[in-house]
Symmetry: D3
Subunit: 288 residues, 6 copies
């Protein structure tokens, strides 16, 4: 490596120092999903980023939903989607397939990737130590099966793992007081977990650049929003349907005491580091 390059590298490291100092010993919840969960190279990069964040003193906690593994197993089994009043139904068989894919495959492959990068990781589902207690959702009174929402987050096992220097990886499966298994929207799960941990940051990895001022104009990115502005944009229909759960999860986290929440473009390599180690960050930041 040439002397010039060495010098440049050192300079970049030094410029990261203020951010390292700021997040030292603080919790950062990352919602992992979308394209970054599909493409092999991106997956490795995300895990590498998390390991780096861990080593420079942050306490990252990863929450994920389903990746391509769910679609895959559903197809293999030949399971078709059912609808009740236009709502997708999660019957018992679907729930089982979802849980197997999420918790048995996606979760453990993330854990294994982190470990191979020199990190230390343990995977959890919401059933472990009753981490995510759920209750059945019945939107408009309709029975859409084993779809749940968060009733309580028991953070004890997360606290233990973080204190012991592990990166917890959590699949968004909940357990009901009735012992049933519930599928939980991973965005909301991440928001609730960030709130329960009073994390410093919640970062939602998506497949778009962030919240747009004009949902049809991809270059109309809004860099910063207050929670109130975000609520208004949802109320007035300005926010794209697919983006709504992400924004709501951010609002929920802010209500729970999280300082900053971010919706970033997970398709960009090293998006996490770009967000965490620069002043401008990337994507949209929603603050209290």
């Amino acid at each position: 490596m040439a002397g010039f390059e060495l010098a440049e590298r050192a300079k970049v490291l030094l410029e990261a120092l203020p951010y390292i100092r700021e997040y030292y010993g603080r919790r950062v919840v990352v919602k992992y999903g979308g394209h970054a969960m599909v493409e092999e190279q991106l997956k490795e990069t995300v895990m590498n980023n998390l390991v780096l964040m861990h080593y420079v003193g942050m306490e990252p906690v990863l929450v994920h939903g389903g990746g391509p593994e769910i679609t895959d197993i559903m197809k293999r089994v030949g399971k078709k989607a059912e609808f009740v009043n236009g709502l997708r139904v999660t019957d018992r068989e679907t729930m089982e397939l979802v849980e197997m894919a999420l918790t048995g495959k996606t979760n453990k492959s993330i854990v294994s990737l982190i470990n191979r990068q020199g990190g230390r990781s343990v995977g959890l589902s919401g059933k472990d130590a009753d981490l995510i207690v759920a209750r059945k959702m019945e939107p408009g009174g309709a029975d859409i099966g084993f779809v749940g929402e968060v009733e309580a987050i028991n953070t004890e096992i997360i606290d233990i793992l973080v204190r012991e220097a592990y990166i917890p990886v959590i699949s968004s499966v909940g357990v009901g007081a009735d012992g049933n298994t519930y599928n939980i929207n991973a965005d909301y799960a991440a928001g609730e977990i960030a709130a329960a941990l009073t994390a410093t940051k919640l970062i939602m990895m998506t497949d778009v650049t962030g919240v747009l001022a004009d949902k049809n104009d991809p270059v109309s990115l809004i860099p910063e929003l207050s929670a109130d502005q975000a609520r208004e944009m949802i109320a007035s229909g300005q926010i794209d349907k697919g983006m709504i759960p992400k924004v709501e999860a951010c609002i929920r986290a802010l209500e729970g005491g999280v300082e900053r929440t971010h919706i970033i473009d997970g398709r960009i390599p090293n998006a996490l580091l770009m967000e965490v180690f620069t002043n401008e960050g990337i994507g949209t930041m929603i603050v209290p």
Copy 2:
């Protein structure tokens, strides 16, 4: 409850005291499998037994292999068994289905059952914290796919969970240095884990009464064997083929410093308690 019954009950509790004292603060590895993993009522009872063992001061660690969930998913997907030189092959697709069933379904349903009985449980696969490091098996040089044997057990995460009063539940999936996933025989995994923990006891739950003197005579149960006697019986073909891995796992555990190993009949309700809280125990005990 009549006075007489109350008095009897108190007497039984008192008779358990010497066993409680003996195993106080000591680790007991239980290999869970067979019928006890299939029948709903038995499953609940096993978990209840574990919770009781935990509350009276033992430190139980559960290791399990596949239950009916594997067969079920294989059937649903329409996957057929392949053979190479008469050996069953675990190709990548099979390994994925096995992992999903074992780790995503069996493991978490056990965890959830324990939690519902008032215990505290966290499920692990061999990938979590690199708990079970595996290497590929090539019996007679044949490539039978993702079948592995234990190379190393990293007990740190077990130690942490036990110290924090959780019951660890471990699925017998290993991770290779190459990052591949390997299916590990659960009997051997249990033996290796017991050895790595220098557990006090290893208890193998099976679907037979124990080791038989005459493998064709179900009432010829041998109550106690030394490791040497067990080795001889294997060498001379006296032990039933299905029983061999269980006996070998016991021998391996004894070599690793475990004090007593037991092969018991998991079809009997409360078999664990019968073994742990009585002098005679049940099944076959193999000792150093």
Copy 3:
């Protein structure tokens, strides 16, 4: 042991689980006295019960008054009872004999019995670490000598011993600010100690079945009373004179935050276990 018997035994152990869970890590103060302190077989059984309670996670603390050792030493010395206005007087010589018998003999023989049963016990009098600070009682202004009542309980030494896994055994001797030794009624001492520890339970071992609805009818046992009901029964003279201190000690403990108090028949073998490990319990329960 026959298979049937083994199965019964396991079933009984399992039925104890809810109670074990409920009292795990919680303090139970036992007032030891009466016949259970006299008969050798009963004494051993009580200590056995305490050791079992300790091993299944409760934190028992024993408080005792005088057994036959006091009567015995008084007789040997030829000391006669004196009375002032009809009240029994504890002069200095009597106090010395009482202290010697209580603290030097009764207390240490209990400690030794517990140790021989595999428990770990340390005996204390109210002088050790100023555990029971007393003030002189002068009922109706009469001077009846070294009879005292509790002024303060210093729980530090109990906390230390319990944390270090010992069963504290406490004789009801108090020390005055004036340095004098005072005889304290053991029922009241137990009530005050339970209150100071905010114990979960106080169990008074007596020689009757409990509180009777009709003090002349031994089968009129009242299974449960509120503190208010108990106060009324005392006020209206419905409670037998010998039972009053026990009921008052229970009321005092409840005022201090104890959850449940019990007056049980110590003549029944394993009465403690019967109370602690069953839903109905035995004797009379007085609750807030």
Copy 4:
């Protein structure tokens, strides 16, 4: 107080500094007995000395035998001494009286005195936490009843109390594996306890000035002896019979790793402080 006196006082305190530094955080076992246990003023002074030693950082442990309380109770009960082959017999009744006086009276009155001087003390007999395990002595095959010698010292409870800043006060009563109570010579008990604790110092309080060169000449005090010299003096009959157990206890302590042992005159007020805070010390020092 005049300035001159203040200055003198400060000077004395400063001269104590080297000794305070030397014994900081180190254990000093004191055998308490003789006249210092009888005379009220002396008793208070001894306890005061112990409290001071505690506050300047030493860790004193007191071991005592019987004071006048034993003689007193024996007389009151009218118990006469019995002899077998010229040896005094401790029958069961005598043992009970001795234990009551030692543990119920002497021990607790010492504890109470220390507490009143602002110290923190807990009294123990050899039965507490099986502190002194004894075996029956049969000198020349004769059965002299419940007289024992030390078989083992379990120091755990002493370690706990010292760490928690209490001064342990130990009566020389032992418990046999057979559950029997044994009277133990307090000098030997102190020697064994000092050895088991690897104390820095053992100080024996006696009623003489120390070991004499000529046992009939009270001014022939030997200031320092080696263990070997002491052994020789015993062998050659130069040591007074009453002094032998004290010297032997010192030798035993030295064998167990104690650095210095002292036989001092407990009749002198503040003898402990004189020994501990001066270079010359008082009495006879026996060293390895």
Copy 5:
């Protein structure tokens, strides 16, 4: 040493016990200065006193200003004092010389003296761990250079050193938010540090006997003053100019929760011990 002398010595030690008990585990801030910082014999004695105070359980913290080392270096360098509006100016060069003398010489020679007396000491300036944060003083708007007053005291490093059994020695140099070095009056620094630590005592060592009723009459010592009385005496000009900072530092400490403050004559050998270990103390005590 004669027996009589030994006895006297023991008596003096015992008389110190109540004071040792009272200050056990409590912080005592000592402002070191004046003649006691100049004369070799006195210096050693002060350090000896501190070491003794440490060993008997107090937690002394020493704060010092400049001794003869400052004058010395100024003279050697040939630096002359400058004045602005009659105020002495500390220009950058003077500040550097002051810092070097205070922190590089006075401070370390105190530390070394304590260590040689068997104590354990670490020296600190206000720059270490940002212990003394200062702001520039501009009396009457005049710029007198690098003279500062205390803005904040960060006690963390003191807490750590005291917990680890070191005696912290602090030079009264402050650091500004601007990175500049400021000279701080050592009396005020000591008062602020005592307040920040909520010390039990602040002792100011001076070259006079204390606060005088008549500032021209050296025998008119006032033994005790309330803070209000002290404020009034300052307001009415009754207090000598040189004494004012000392009295004000005491008042500041009292406002911050210190229990007692003392102005004593450091020219008397062992003045610290005289103050701490006697009832009358010496000098003037100012109380809330």
Copy 6:
């Protein structure tokens, strides 16, 4: 910042990860000296580098000798160098000036710089907690005054400060058993401290590029040497005189168990980061 730049920056951070992982929780002793101690911009950069190293999990310890402050004060005072047999003499006055400059000025200005960069630092001289115990050097029997060599390093205070997350900054002043102050060569002091701490790395900051194959050819840098090769080069006179102490300090550190030692060019900005965060490193590495 442009997207491209952000991406580059993230990439550099990720490339640092293997080095961060390798040195996590490990001690790195840095000898600070030469030009890097003179030039303001370089000084800030070095401190910044140390703070970064601290935040990414290393445990840096800084050792420094004299900078321009010594020359400066000597000149101001008008002190001239003296020689004995051609050796420079450190008389008492010189030693005082050296100590004041080193410990009172250089040391504290480094501490203050680190604190202003967001680090946490405490300065120490060898006198604090007797960190550097020295003995007088008498080269060839000549008395050259207060020049010493290391006799012992007491690491306790370093261990405490590192554990409490401070960066210790140590000036190379030693204290003799005789209480005298000794000037210690800072290179050797750093080597001894690295050895005493069994540091992972020792980095010597110099004003040259490293060890040269031909001492007259500045581009003949040797990137790596074994300790044996280094010893030979010294023996054969191949190493420049000014470089010898640095190489010997490295050898001493390696003998004490340090894994790698480095002689780097401190004139290059961020030389520390370049060494620590790249594979090639810079300068000369000397290994066991």
